[in-house]
């Protein structure tokens, strides 16, 4: 694509030798100047509609445009450089990248929008329409009308209409303004609302029409906000679910209070980091390092869990309080060990492209990709746990040992092995939670400490020993937290939730999904 344009450009330059004082050549040297000069030059180039400007501006936006010590510009092409003023290959000795600031970036977005709005590439046209929408210049009206006349893709058309409306709104033509107000009113986005609020101040005569449009937007936004709050709550809930699931197994099933649970989560996050580093050298593997990290984190944390259970915890069965204190000590050691090995600094775990950015759900509800995936992951892990407990031999043996250790032993089940496996399983789940947390939180030795109390609360609230309780508990706490947050602030919301759980437990000491009857008494 670029090559094609550059080729066209070359032809163009050859065909029209030395058209001395056109807009392009006048504006071009400004790009190498200071930030304000560069921003002005970018705007001129955008308005020039000169096809030669496109590759230069694009190179600039992508941070590839070079300038020589003498102030001449160089566009990289293939292995060499081209002088954009002449289109001829040129030498770029000592050149450095042209630096940008936000003002220049803003100008670039508008200018590229103007230049690319008739691009043959649909993606570019969409981005261009958005760029033009944000640059809000009345001068773009003819350009947009022309582009709209040719556009067939509905999504791009809509964006172009909005851009047109935004441009008309700051124009002088009253009729255009009126249609723009109506069009923006149906858009239902915060950007449209911002435009209308500003227009209301500039056009007091149209206040009534604008108010109607604003009210329509408000209504859409209110529904969307509720949906987004729900999503945020579910997202927080899924994080809590992941952190608590492992605990639901080790505490709920085995009755072992593992204060080092948070550290297993942290180990999982570091495993993710290590897998990512290992994959770095292999380009085709790199984007898949995160999925690969899931089994790795599971195995690492499970191994650590098995060692902990066989080495220490099994000597303390029947003494849950001692186990609690002992595992606190283990947590201290694990944290410091990780700090010694990896350093106290945060480790960078990058998100793969498919986990970045925002995703639009139907109805214009914007959700972030990484959180969406974490919700999916949380549910997948839950299903995995349920399946492992219900449908595998290991799950059967585990349930047998939980219900009656002695009888299970007489039936030939190696209870010690089952204990170790169960604990390893719970720890491994914690490790998988670490993979998810590496995408939203710091990968640091302290990662786990922030989640341990919340996880306990989820398990206790949901009902010890009940996976359904853990699920409902986690999601309830997440949603309640997020619903309260705008009113009470993040801290008080959390405090309220904690107090509410404490009161709830007074009423139902065994949690939401309590086991009833004689089994629960013992």
């Amino acid at each position: 694509m670029e090559k094609l344009i550059a080729g066209l450009l070359l032809l163009l330059v050859l065909a029209l030798p030395a058209r001395a004082q056109d807009a392009f050549t006048t504006a071009l040297p400004g790009l190498a100047g200071g930030f304000s000069e560069a921003a002005a030059a970018v705007e001129q180039l955008g308005a020039s509609a000169d096809p030669r400007a496109l590759p230069v501006l694009r190179a600039m936006a992508e941070g590839r445009l070079q300038k020589t010590p003498e102030g001449a510009l160089r566009v990289p092409q293939g292995d060499g450089f081209v002088d954009p003023a002449t289109g001829q290959p040129a030498d770029a000795a000592g050149a450095e990248t042209v630096r940008l600031n936000n003002r220049v970036r803003q100008a670039l977005r508008g200018a590229l929008g103007q230049l690319q709005i008739i691009s043959p590439d649909a993606g570019e046209r969409l981005a261009a329409a958005e760029g033009v929408f944000r640059s809000r210049s009345a001068a773009n009206v003819p350009l947009l009308e022309a582009a709209l006349a040719k556009e067939t893709v509905p999504r791009i058309r809509e964006q172009m209409e909005l851009a047109l409306a935004a441009s008309q709104l700051v124009g002088t033509e009253a009729e255009g303004k009126r249609s723009a107000i109506a069009r923006l009113g149906s858009a239902g986005t915060t950007e449209a609302r911002a435009l209308l609020i500003e227009a209301r101040i500039a056009n007091p005569d149209m206040a009534t029409a604008i108010d109607v449009s604003l009210a329509a937007i408000e209504q859409t936004l209110a529904i969307r906000r509720a949906a987004e709050t729900l999503f945020q709550g579910l997202s927080l809930g899924s994080v809590l679910l992941l952190a608590a699931l492992g605990l639901a197994v080790t505490f709920g099933v085995m009755g072992v209070i593992n204060m080092a649970h948070g550290e297993f989560v942290m180990l999982g996050a570091y495993a993710t980091f290590m897998v990512q580093e290992a994959c770095r050298g292999i380009p085709w593997l790199a984007p898949w390092s995160l999925p690969l990290a899931v089994p790795a984190a599971f195995l690492l944390a499970a191994a650590a869990g098995a060692i902990l259970e066989r080495g220490l915890i099994r000597h303390l069965y029947g003494r849950p309080l001692e186990t609690l204190l002992m595992t606190f000590g283990v947590g201290m050691i694990l944290q410091q060990a990780v700090r010694s090995i990896f350093g106290a600094q945060n480790r960078e775990v990058t998100s793969p492209a498919w986990m970045q950015g925002t995703m639009m759900l139907p109805g214009g509800i914007a959700v972030t990709q990484n959180r969406m995936w974490i919700i999916v992951f949380g549910i997948a892990v839950l299903l995995l746990v349920i399946a492992a407990i219900r449908y595998t031999r290991f799950g059967l043996e585990m349930r047998a040992v939980v219900q009656n250790r002695r009888i299970a032993a007489t039936m030939g089940i190696r209870t010690g092995r089952v204990d170790a496996l169960t604990f390893a399983f719970g720890s491994g789940i914690a490790g998988m939670a670490g993979v998810a947390l590496s995408q939203i939180d710091n990968v640091s030795p302290n990662l786990g400490t922030g989640y341990i109390i919340d996880s306990f609360m989820v398990v206790v609230f949901g009902g010890v020993g009940s996976l359904a309780g853990t699920l409902v508990g986690a999601l309830t706490l997440g949603v309640v937290n997020k619903v309260l947050e705008p009113y009470a602030g993040a801290v008080l919301a959390k405090v309220f939730v904690l107090v509410a759980i404490m009161l709830f437990i007074q009423r139902r000491p065994r949690g939401l999904f309590a086991l009833k009857g004689r089994a629960a008494e013992s």
Binding site: L324, G329, M332, Q336, F456, I505
Partner: protein, 364 residues
């Protein structure tokens, strides 16, 4: 519930030796500020640092005693005793802040600096009365006592025991920590209270203030020992042990377990609050970090290390773990967590009765 690890009462002769050791240790402690006054080149001179740090450890020992009373005797493993300690500290901290008066940075006659700064016009109602020392001391006991009363009543009435109670109390201190971190609470947020000037008319940060506080702590330690001893040796003490080992059986004997547990929990919280009140003027700062769940667990571990179910064990644990920590954070700043964590693991695994168990075995 947990299997009973009933610590047997040391045999008569053992108990006697233990008591002698305890009296000896107390005498040595009592001598420290006196030795501090000796000329620095004297062989017996004790540095200011030792006096101040020992004073701090004594308050920790009182906290350990309070935990031991609840855990070692009544089986209530509270992971929130740090909160009672911190509340007591905040009570006295408020008094100390009020005493700064117009000597604060902004020279406001009544408002502490942080309030001036956050734009308070007048003192919030819950700060009233703290200018009086007796009131502050009363609050240092009453507030933790009241909190323990409410939380304890709700929990014990619902028969929340064992690890559930531990988790609830942990959540309690965590919630308090979050709340106190908020600047809008009117307790100085993360910075808490510092830069105290005087207490009872004596300027802090002088050797004489330090030795006064030291003796006050020692006195409180002895007083707490006496109170705890009085409780544990009475029939109430035996009821508590009964509750610890077989709670429901105690109920069938007609004892209202909720009342007994509540009594000891509140008493323990009040002792912890007083310890906090003596801790704060000695370290010169109180902030929400004191509420952090880790602090409470650490204090419980002192008791476990020393040996729960014996009052001396609690003291031994508090002194030895803290001495070790002070030493290790200087000698091995990068490795001390390994050592301390390893100690906790080793003690729970190999010394279920704590260090005191070692002595008891030797004597048998």
């Amino acid at each position: 519930m947990s299997a009973s690890l009933a610590a047997p009462a040391p045999a008569g002769a053992g108990r006697m030796t233990l008591r002698l050791v305890l009296i000896g240790a107390m005498l040595v402690l009592a001598m420290l500020p006196v030795l501090n006054r000796l000329p620095p080149d004297s062989a017996l001179h004790v540095s200011d640092f030792i006096v101040s740090i020992t004073g701090k450890w004594i308050t920790y020992a009182i906290l350990a005693l309070a935990i031991d009373l609840a855990w070692g005797y009544a089986g209530i493993l509270s992971l929130g005793h740090g909160a009672f300690f911190a509340l007591g500290g905040y009570a006295i901290g408020m008094h100390l802040m009020r005493l700064i008066g117009p000597r604060g940075v902004y020279g406001h006659p009544t408002l502490p600096d942080f309030m001036v700064f956050l734009g308070y016009r007048e003192l919030p109602w819950y700060w009233l009365g703290f200018e009086h020392f007796p009131f502050a001391i009363l609050m240092a006991m009453a507030v933790p006592g009241l909190l323990a009363g409410v939380v304890g009543y709700l929990a014990f009435r619902s028969r929340i025991t064992g690890v559930y109670l531990s988790i609830i109390t942990q959540a309690m201190t965590y919630a308090l920590m979050l709340a106190f971190f908020r600047n809008d609470m009117g307790f100085g947020g993360n910075n808490g209270f510092t830069d105290f000037k005087e207490l009872l008319g004596m300027p802090l940060n002088t050797p004489s203030a330090r030795s006064t506080l030291f003796y006050a702590s020692l006195l409180l330690l002895l007083g707490s020992l006496w109170v705890c001893g009085r409780v544990t040796r009475s029939k109430l003490g035996r009821v508590l042990v009964a509750i610890r080992d077989a709670e429901s059986r105690t109920r069938f004997l007609g004892y209202d377990v909720t009342q007994h547990k509540l009594f000891v929990f509140v008493l323990s919280a009040m002792i912890a609050g007083l310890a906090g009140a003596l801790y704060v003027p000695q370290v010169g700062i109180i902030n929400p970090g004191e509420f952090s769940p880790g602090n409470s667990i650490e204090a419980v571990i002192w008791v476990a290390v020393g040996g729960r179910g014996t009052l001396v064990g609690a003291l031994l644990g508090a002194f030895s773990v803290n001495a070790l920590k002070t030493w290790l954070t200087t000698v091995a700043p990068d490795l001390w967590l390994f050592a301390l964590g390893g100690l906790f693991v080793a003690v729970t695994l190999f010394l279920p009765r704590g260090l005191i168990g070692l002595f008891q075995k030797e004597r048998r």
